[in-house]
């Protein structure tokens, strides 16, 4: 499956809505996620407290980003980690590829990282002579299928079990097993295990970067991050600079929020803190450890008043609860990050010009903000991007005209009332049996639903008449 482009959003949406099973496919994941999150929060009485605490930790770190970045670098270097700085996606993926080439790597294993997708690592490897092996089960599936991820937590949620059976039978070493999920997992495990042990370099993302120890934390359920990182001689971490927190104590409330908001679990199977290369007495671990700190638009977001978005811990709750995401799915957004958080991030990672349509594909119902574990005001941020689009005139002319025309009327109430009265007369012409099935200028509405017939005259008209009547009655 070819990756969609964000600038083709309208077409992507049409394609998505035309897929007959898409809604069912999305729903079986998001409904479950929603229900599990609700249960987890109900069993977590300190949720609001943790949420406020998590927000505070993030806000504090973002505010003092320069300080904590310097502290992190100092401590990471002291642990023997080599620290790299990348200001763009291209720079970041070049740094990673260069390290791999320097070590003459033939095979690299990767544990799931959205930042890796963001900086284009998957394509960079696929266009090189280095073999890329995705070790997260869902990433493994979409690698075999050649798909982009459709969700930041469940990247293969758009694939059915039948799809997976087909893919595994085609690509796995021994395809003689049943269609039972346990058997499918067993097959993936067997094939991946040999690859873990023969990998030259392991590449991971990071859920948290701890400034006071220079270490990185990964959260997984499959243990694949640990197997990606430990056996190869070289470990590379790629992380966005917003992953910083002052210390492990500060990461804990965020971890509690993350797992519950993402999968509804109190805790994941594995939470590992990686702290530089193997030491003298360590039984195992990489001999060389690199960390690539990626900006890619983040400091610009900070400068442009979008700092609240840098709180995001990539839990995916906003998309699980987004009524638009649930109908169009992740691929339609044409970006690594779909849903509400993606619609805010993509304009900064790519440009507002290519991704402004997504900011309008939101009903402003506020559910995403309601469930966000770090209180990101997503609707407010989306609206502020719309304001930027408006100023830059990215909005289609017809929309601008309509909004301006309506605005000009609205600021002249007398004219507005006159226009409303004319509107009622106009609508009456097209009304049949209490409903309007078709009317000029309203195809956006009547394409899919009927319009209720208005009453005989406007409220203001009726009200004035009634008031005059009362005055007359009193005079008599």
């Amino acid at each position: 499956m070819q990756a969609n482009k964000p600038e083709n959003f309208t077409q992507n949406v049409t394609d998505a809505l035309a897929q007959p099973d898409l809604k069912m496919i999305i729903r079986r994941t998001t409904d479950k996620a929603e229900a599990k999150r609700t249960d987890a929060i109900a069993n977590f009485p300190e949720f609001e407290k943790a949420r406020a605490q998590g927000q505070k930790v993030k806000d504090h770190t973002i505010k003092h980003m320069d300080h904590y970045l310097a502290e992190f670098e100092k401590n990471a270097l002291a642990q023997g980690t080599i620290v790299h700085w990348a200001s763009t996606a291209e720079e970041a993926s070049k740094i990673v590829l260069d390290i791999c080439r320097e070590h003459k790597a033939k095979k690299v294993t990767r544990s799931k990282s959205m930042l890796g997708e963001e900086i284009g690592l998957t394509h960079a490897f696929d266009n090189s002579d280095i073999e890329r092996i995705e070790t997260d089960l869902a990433e493994h599936i979409i690698q075999l299928a050649g798909d982009p991820p459709s969700h930041i937590i469940w990247p293969a949620m758009h694939r059915s079990r039948e799809d997976v059976v087909k893919l595994f039978r085609e690509f796995h070493s021994d395809p003689t097993y049943s269609e039972e999920i346990t058997d499918l997992v067993r097959s993936a495990r067997r094939d991946l295990r040999t690859k873990f042990l023969t990998s030259d370099i392991g590449i991971s993302g990071s859920n948290f970067l701890l400034a006071d120890s220079g270490s990185s934390c990964t959260v997984t359920n499959e243990g694949n991050a640990e197997l990606t990182i430990t056996p190869p001689k070289v470990h590379i971490v790629t992380a966005g600079i917003e992953k910083l927190v002052p210390s492990m104590a500060h990461a804990i409330p965020l971890l509690r929020l993350l797992t519950r908001s993402a999968t509804g679990a109190d805790i994941t199977q594995y939470i590992t803190f990686h702290n530089g290369p193997k030491r003298k007495n360590d039984a195992d671990g990489p001999e060389e450890c690199h960390i690539v700190l990626v900006d890619n638009g983040r400091t610009k977001m900070l400068a442009e008043g979008m700092e609240e978005m840098l709180r995001c811990i990539r839990c995916g709750a906003c998309m699980n609860h987004c009524v638009v995401y649930k109908h169009i799915g992740g691929h339609a957004y044409g970006s690594v990050y779909p849903g509400p958080m993606g619609s805010v991030l993509t304009p900064h990672l790519q440009s507002l010009e290519v991704a402004n349509k997504q900011t309008h594909a939101c009903t402003m119902n506020g559910r995403c903000e309601d469930v966000c574990p770090v209180n990101i005001p997503l609707p407010k941020l989306l609206r502020s991007l719309r304001a930027q689009s408006w100023q830059k005139k990215y909005e289609p002319l017809t929309n601008r005209f309509f909004v301006k025309f309506f605005g000009q009327l609205a600021k002249r109430p007398q004219l507005f009332q006159l226009f409303s009265s004319c509107g009622v007369i106009f609508m009456k012409i097209f009304s049949r049996n209490g409903w309007i099935k078709f009317m000029p200028f309203t195809s956006g509405w009547t394409k899919n639903r009927d319009l209720i017939e208005p009453e005989t005259t406007t409220f203001m008209h009726q009200y004035k008449k009634l008031k005059n009547l009362k005055v007359m009655e009193r005079k008599l």
Binding site: M364, G407, P413, V424, W435
Partner: protein, 274 residues
Amino acid sequence: MSEKNNYTDANQSNTIECLNISEKRVGLFVTCLVNTMRPSVGFASITLLEQAGCTVEVPAAQSCCGQPAFNSGDDEGTRQIAYQVIEQFEEFDYVVLPSGSCASMIKKNFIEVFKEQPSWQARAQHLADRTHELLSFLVDVCNFKPNGVELDGTFTYHDSCSGYRSLNVYEQPREMLSTVKGLEHKPLNGHSECCGFGGTFCVKYSDISNAIVSEKVENVVAADADYLLGGDMGCLMNIAGKLNREGNQKITALHTAEVLAGLAPKIIGANDAS
């Protein structure tokens, strides 16, 4: 309109409770959808507010709350509208709107477009503090209990997003509707999930909106009620319009105020006649 209310005369016990309120002047902002599409909601609002002991005035120079401009990102256009809303309504003790979404616009969003105009921001805040959505105002501020309203049948309730999430409107309409004799509540699956209206969204992304409202309609039909009630004309028009397009004429969509003011039988009668 009628001076003061009949409510205090008919219900002596409520006189004292409402006395403070009756000294308060309420400015009713009917909203553009009610003005053009459903005036009866405006009259129902006046009836209810007067029953609750308020003196209601309807400023003639009113138009729109500015949401289409605001949600499209046109800050300057929003300010132009907000100036005149503030000027028209700031003199009242309370400003009431029969819509969670328009009330929320004045309560939460006006101040956002005046970030660089402190004096206007202060006026916007002053207005925001006294602005209320109708149903929550009746219960939370007026402590109003409808009396003697009857309507036979079952209803299901759609909680509009702005009212529900941004203004905490949930219990108030249910509490008042529970006093309506003969009316029985039937729960709606996904009662607080967006119906896909979203103002300009529903015409801009008509097909996504259609997918969303189709699902809402499935739930409404499954609730198996005679009436679909809610507190926002936008959502009600969206859901009712989809129900009708699908050929379902069994369910009547009504604004909660229409039911509480006893206008429902008249509206249903008129519908049947047409």
